[in-house]
Symmetry: C2
Subunit: 221 residues, 2 copies
């Protein structure tokens, strides 16, 4: 019975997610769901990305956190609309919260929405929130063994960002093993190596977003 109820919850979430996506499609908004462990650098990447993207797109952020408005405040500086969801203990975002968070925006004035999910490599991968692409972020100090140990996220993602590559020389991270494992989990997954310290990879990331957004709009015809 517990399994049946979980099934119903997941189905309800997916139905709502599809509604959210349909609605975003009508508005020609591209939405990215950014997922990683706590401290991999999701907020810092947004801090680096927003000033560049703002020159080209109308951008907003939905910020998911268990507690505090710290990350939302960090992003406030970049003068884009930010909608905060405090999950109060819950370990992932669901589509029903995204629908509510979207109401805070003027959706006729947006091209691109980032959702920064709760810091967690496990649960957020299971929940479609109506995004067009899941981006999995992993940072070098977390270790090269994560794709095999947490495969679902890397199977669901359209892109993996390998962050904090400036720390490669101070850690035992084995890039060969990382790419081999990733290939086993999801052979079609693109990877961008990135550092918010040196800015390496930022251009490739902005370029990926740009192309992916256009591809998504083109599919709508």
């Amino acid at each position: 019975m517990q399994i049946k109820i979980l099934q119903n919850l997941l189905e309800a979430n997916e139905e709502k997610a599809q509604e959210v996506r349909d609605f975003l499609n009508q508005k020609h908004i591209f939405m990215v769901n950014l997922i990683s462990s706590p401290g991999s650098g999701k907020t810092t990447l947004l801090e680096k990305t927003l000033p560049i993207l703002k020159q080209k797109f109308r951008v907003a952020v939905i910020e998911g956190d268990v507690e505090t408005e710290r990350d939302a405040k960090r992003l406030d500086l970049y003068q884009v609309p930010v909608s905060l969801i405090n999950t109060k203990g819950a370990c992932h975002l669901e589509s029903v919260s995204i629908e509510k968070a979207l109401l805070a925006f003027d959706l006729d004035q947006l091209d691109l929405i980032f959702v920064e999910n709760v810091g967690n490599l496990v649960c957020p991968a299971e929940f479609d929130i109506g995004e067009h692409a899941k981006v999995a972020m992993l940072s070098v100090p977390e270790g090269d063994d994560k794709p095999l140990k947490y495969p679902l996220l890397f199977q669901e993602a359209s892109l993996t960002i390998l962050n904090k590559i400036d720390l490669l020389k101070y850690t035992d991270f084995d890039k060969t093993r990382f790419y081999d494992d990733l290939e086993r989990v999801n052979p079609n997954l693109s990877v961008i190596e990135l550092s918010c310290k040196t800015n390496e990879g930022i251009d490739a990331w902005v370029d990926w977003l740009d192309k992916r957004r256009i591809a998504s709009l083109n599919r709508l015809g």
Copy 2:
């Protein structure tokens, strides 16, 4: 109704956890629940700790992972009993799995059991698994802002290990902010700063385990 069922699940988990703890107490076994994000260094800490502890105690490890037996295999080298729980997607361990994992051991031949929980800073904090102490591990590259953003774990823990302090000089980690926030979340929490690279803090950790184990046994009278 969903909330009611979750409540029942949590209550059932706690009841079973108390049974596990009572059973361990009968056997004079001290059990530690090690919790952190993926890649904070739980397995590496065990690799450093087991050779030292083995000289003094009879030790075993319960290894919780979403997938793979990689971490369990890493610990096999240290010739202590290891019992693996693959949660197949679940984001935390529960007491019912611990009870089963304990059956793999000869419990009359053990003094100390480490449980390496699933890599996740959110969900494992909610589930009592019958341990005597929760140890929260955070690594420097994850950032100083985690105690306030994920408060439950730091409230529940008896000790925080700040790991990878060898990376302090390459990151923006602010120790003052970290300790201030931790004080707000849990003023009684001990902290050990540690590096598995330089071995700094390993002695303090072994010492903490020793004292804490004795205190736990003394409470039983």
